[in-house]
Symmetry: C2
Subunit: 135 residues, 2 copies
DNA sequence: GTCCGTGCAAAAGCTTTGCAGCCTT
DNA sequence: AAGGCTGCAAAGCTTTTGCACGGAC
């Protein structure tokens, strides 16, 4: 949350490199613990603190984004093209939706407020196909 | 998060009634602690647990909504007309924006996915007028 | 050699919950 | 009288942090 004024110099770290690789390779939007479990297979002595610290660094570098999914814990994703999220009310799964993007709404809103808009996020809530077929 | 199958019978509670009243009377999007402090003035022996329990009940009744503001703590609002949020990146303030609503995007997205969309939320991020004038 | 990154463990912060007694119905 | 609601305190969970050591540069 805190923003550094000076640009930090980061060293290379195998843990962080792999963390980013895993995040990029997965379709899901993992929690810190999930990433920890996954990474622990490669680094048996890994600690959760390292995962959080590296996630914070990757976020600061703009490579990763934190998602507020409405749960008690955060989810993360590697940042790619702008996209929205479909969040299932039943199972909590998050699905990316990249086919349509509405950049114009930033201007629509900017023009009718004295708020300086830089970005927006849209989350759609409903029921995913899996959960629908189960009921 | 857990959803009850059976419909619960709620009794009246002065604390809950006042909690909702305060939430409806405020323009801000308070945290649980803010509501606690406010309500404690009326109920000196109030406990934070009661605030959380009543917020959960009000949410289940559909009268209150929890907002994921990207902070470490939750914010709440009494549910009214559909609206979006302008969230200030500098001070964290949340401003309601009710002038424009885009119900049609639910259909746009529904039509190009097999996701059953019930609702959406849009949050705009940027800088509020106060913070802009300060810099 | 410097000092960032890591592991370990403790701490922090917000939220939830068990329990006994009170209040609503 | 039954059972939700409350206060109190303890517990729970996710996330953060202090410290000493190892690794990157």
């Amino acid at each position: 949350m805190k923003q550094e004024q000076t640009v930090k110099q980061y060293r290379q770290s195998r843990q962080r490199a792999r963390l980013l690789a895993i995040l990029r390779a997965t379709e899901s939007h993992p929690t810190a613990t999930w990433l920890y479990d996954r990474l622990k297979a490669e680094f048996p002595s890994l600690s959760l603190g390292t995962v959080y610290r590296n996630l914070a660094i990757l976020i600061e570098q703009g490579l990763v984004r934190k998602i507020d999914s409405g749960s008690t814990f955060d989810r993360f994703e590697a940042k790619t093209a702008p996209h929205y999220h479909l969040i299932c009310n039943k199972c909590g799964k998050i699905i990316d939706f990249e086919e349509r993007f509405f950049p114009e709404i930033n201007y629509i809103i900017s023009n009718s407020t004295n708020f300086d808009i830089e970005s927006h996020r849209i989350d759609f809530f409903g029921t995913c196909a899996d959960c629908r077929s189960k009921s």
